[in-house]
Amino acid sequence: MNQISQRIEALLFTAGEAVPKTELQELTKTSEGELTAALQELEQHTQESGLTIIITATHVQLVTSPNVAGFLAQFNKDTNHELSKAALETLSLIAYRGPLVRFEIDAIRGVDSTRIIRQLFLRGLVRQLRMSSKAPQYDVTEEFLSHLGITTKHELPNFTELAAHNLS
């Protein structure tokens, strides 16, 4: 691996949680394109490894690889991961169609989703992308992807079809 990829891997390891891409760029003094290339190389490197990276629109996180997920699951005694029906359908909308504002979620679900989005936010499964003037947009987090055992949204079932905004 090149130096930038190595530095990024070390930064992700010491962080212990998801790191904003903007911060990685700043710390490694790289452009957006250089970061993307470095992440690609890192991903390549972790192909046959016990670790991998989860990449969302805004963040990157170093996690254990799907290769060993089954093996590690036996040590994970925490089974409290039930999600309500409302939580699942809201996550599904945000995962496939996100980033999107609450109004769009309400419009498809046909009910006010404020409360359920807040719950998902506090559980770390969705995040607000814009916190300034405009209505905040929501997108799923690394935490969400990690619970499903995948490293990008594109691995979601039927992603291309369901992510298309004009469904027939």
Binding site: N76, A86, L145
Partner: protein
């Protein structure tokens, strides 16, 4: 997840509510022949008897209102054209919703089965910083208090949009109160019996005697407007 809602059981159809909506949309069931009251009654009884989360009630209301819309359209053909567009939108929205709802079900099955874990996930106890401790120069406890006060002061206070009033006696409670009183005397002066209680309970009391009159338990007598209201036991 809540237990499944009771199925619809009427002459024309037996099965889940949402299936009925699908059938009605495809005009396989003629809604004009169905009493909406018969349709919704078992559901309303069900939510009285069970503790149903608000989201589930909301999704039932969507189903019920769709039925109502389709039924109204059938009964008032002149509405048909105006409503046509809205119903198409509505149907499209429901289809869209259905696709993501199904996709979400898959999440539920997969959730936490083989998660990818973050660093130190299995670390014993609390993770402490490994680097040397470095205390900020000149930091005083008061500075912390000030920082938090300033931050919290900058957060706009949300004004409640709805007001909850303290719950008074229920209609059922007040009903039985009147019934008890009427076992000892056969005539009551309504104004006297509601003297000194809250306005909310006064209103409920009035509803209670109206209900009793409807059930022919009592007869009401008032000689002039705003005059004394006398309750006679029958």
């Amino acid at each position: 997840m809540h237990p499944a809602f009771p199925d619809v059981k009427i002459d024309q159809f037996e099965g889940p509510y949402d299936v009925l909506v699908e059938l009605a949309k495809k005009q396989k069931v003629n809604l004009s022949e169905i009493s909406l009251q018969k349709l919704t009654e078992p559901f309303l009884i069900y939510i009285q008897e069970h503790n149903i989360p608000p989201e589930s009630v909301a999704s039932f209301i969507i189903v019920a209102s769709t039925l109502l819309l389709i039924k109204a359209r059938e009964m008032l053909p002149q509405l048909k054209q105006e409503e046509e567009e809205e119903i198409t939108d509505f149907t499209q929205r429901l289809q869209l919703y259905e696709r993501y709802r199904k996709a979400g079900e898959h999440f539920g099955l997969q959730w936490g089965k083989a998660p990818l874990l973050p660093a130190s996930f299995f670390a014993e106890g609390n993770k402490k910083a490994t680097q040397a401790f470095s205390f900020p120069a000149g930091l005083l406890p008061e500075a912390l208090a000030d920082a938090l006060k300033q931050k919290t002061a900058s957060i706009p206070v949300i004004q409640p949009k709805a007001h909850l009033t303290q719950r008074g006696k229920s209609l059922t409670e007040i009903l039985s109160l009147f019934q008890t009183r009427l076992t000892t005397s056969s005539i009551l002066n309504f104004q006297e019996s509601i003297h000194g209680i809250s306005r909310q309970e006064q209103a409920v009391s009035f509803l209670a005697i109206l209900e009793m009159a409807r059930n022919q338990e009592v007869q009401l007598e008032q000689l002039e407007a705003f005059g004394t209201l006398v309750v006679h036991k029958i």
